[in-house]
Amino acid sequence: MSNNINMSVEIAGVRLKNPVLAASGTFGFGREYSEYFDLSLLGGISVKGLTLKPRKGNPPPRIAETPSGILNSVGLQNPGVHYFIENEIPFLRKYDTAIIANASGNTVEEYEQMVEILSDADIDAIELNLSCPNVKEGCMSFGSTAEGIVNVVKRVKKYAKKPLIVKLTPNVTDIVEIAKAAEDSGADALSLINTLLGMAIDAKTRKPILKNITGGLSGPAIKPVALRMVYQVAQNVKIPVIGMGGISNGTDAVEFLLAGASAVMVGTAGLVNPYAWIETVKGIEEYMKETNISDVKELIGGLII
């Protein structure tokens, strides 16, 4: 876009052309949105959460609208990591954007296998999802205690030949403790936040709206919680933080960068506005022009207290 503006950032050795990534689970494997804009405009794409074997996911309804947000209970429906490697990476690699493989497991062994398999795939980084609230086993149960984090991250680290981003759940008492545990166990970067566990009820039918009863809250509603956690974590770890939660435009993204995020992800906003991802990139650029900043890295942690 503009020549005198440097939008690139680096996360755990991966150079991103700009700090805006698509959040896992909201962007599929990119195919759908490639009809709306050039995927090369994005800093990166975190693909739909992958598991070792294909997963059917949870029964519908899987989405509920809430004030300035949504609840989802997809439950990691995905075609499995092997399908991804064979069928989706070749498509994504046609674009000049970082590919981040979002990986989940039911057991520590599964996490190990996922990381081993993905380490040999043509991707840029692995995002370990230790935070999905919509599946019974694994995932959030590993991510909601420091011991759980240490246990998984230390063990998968041995298999990791790609940068390891650990994605944190916000459903914890002390996010800083969890973040430090991940850092100490070998995470190369952190991403936060995943969704807040929530619920919606239809007073007319007297039933929960989601068949799964509870689901993960995302969208603008959670932005204040996300910003707070990103701020707290960025103050307390040395590894880079990828911030997300309710980002809908450039101003929101700038707030996360100021709070200490080195990059951001946009998720739910894109479900409503398919251009949210690229508008966020443009919005950051506009902010930089207005405020005479030539390098986006100057914004990172630039909060004035």
């Binding site: 962007f27 949105y33 989802n72």
Partner: protein, 259 residues
């Protein structure tokens, strides 16, 4: 990157059913019967878009019509739209009805708000015989009779309470229709229970059919995977996605709730 379109006409068809005619070269030029649009309802407290079927396409006038019932916040806001207003509208989306020119005798069966996506099928289909079977709650709920009359060769209406047309459900109309005359293809849209019964009836007679499914949606384009719908997949089953794999599915692919 422009999703904003102008409203040419906004009309109330019955106590809670509204029609909006939207000027859109983008949508009218590529849409087919059974596809839908995803609309940002202008107003506070409505976050997600609302999926609404395309009821009618006027390709020369470059407009599409949507017809909807006021159900909640979003559709209430939409009912306030006036001619000249603009709408933020994604589409056309999804997989529409299959129109097979070899079929000479087709039938559409719609219940309630399910009738709307069926109109364009009648308009676009080259069949000689086009039967339309429509079901409504009662007389005051009957809408678009003239349009369906115009584009069908045979129109039958049923109401739950018999206040208009025949008393009973569309399924009864369908049972009669297929026992008299075997259609080549049946297009169905309506409440899940009605679609399920119709599909069952037709299966017994081995008549192919397509159904248009509903599910709560996010993106509307296949990325977020929330709009799951149970479908047969060989001897197993899988979740397909209403917004991309559908909303129209072959009747025999759907696994209905009660199965």
């Amino acid at each position: 990157m422009n999703l904003i379109e102008r409203v040419r006409k906004a009309e109330r068809l019955s106590s809670d059913i509204y029609l909006i005619r939207i000027e859109s070269e983008r949508i009218s030029s590529s849409a087919s019967a059974g596809q839908f649009v995803n609309i940002k309802c202008p107003g506070p407290e409505v976050y997600l878009r609302r999926p609404i079927s395309i009821c009618s396409i006027d390709r020369s006038e470059k407009t599409i019509d949507i017809v909807f019932q006021v159900r909640g916040k979003g559709t209430r806001l939409l009912s306030d739209i006036k001619a000249g207003d603009t709408l933020d509208i994604l589409g056309p989306l999804g997989r529409g009805f299959t129109i097979c020119p070899e079929h000479k005798n087709i039938l559409v069966a719609g219940g309630g708000i399910g009738i709307f996506p069926l109109l364009q099928v009648l308009k676009d289909h080259p069949a000689e015989r086009k039967t339309a079977l429509l079901g409504f709650r009662n007389k005051s709920a009957v809408v678009m009779e003239d349009e369906f009359n115009k584009y069908s060769t045979d129109l039958k209406i049923a109401t739950d309470d018999g206040s208009y047309g025949i008393q009973g459900f569309v399924t009864a109309l369908l049972q009669n229709a297929i026992s008299e005359d075997r259609p080549d293809m049946v297009y169905i849209c309506g409440p899940a229970i009605m679609m399920e019964q119709c599909v069952k009836l037709l299966k017994e007679k081995d008549i192919p059919c397509e159904v248009s499914m509903e599910q709560r949606m996010g993106c509307g384009m296949g990325a977020c995977l929330v709009c799951a719908c149970k479908t047969r997949s060989g001897s197993d089953w899988d979740y397909s996605h209403v917004c991309k794999d559908g909303p129209v599915f072959s009747g025999d692919r759907i696994i209905f709730e009660s199965e």
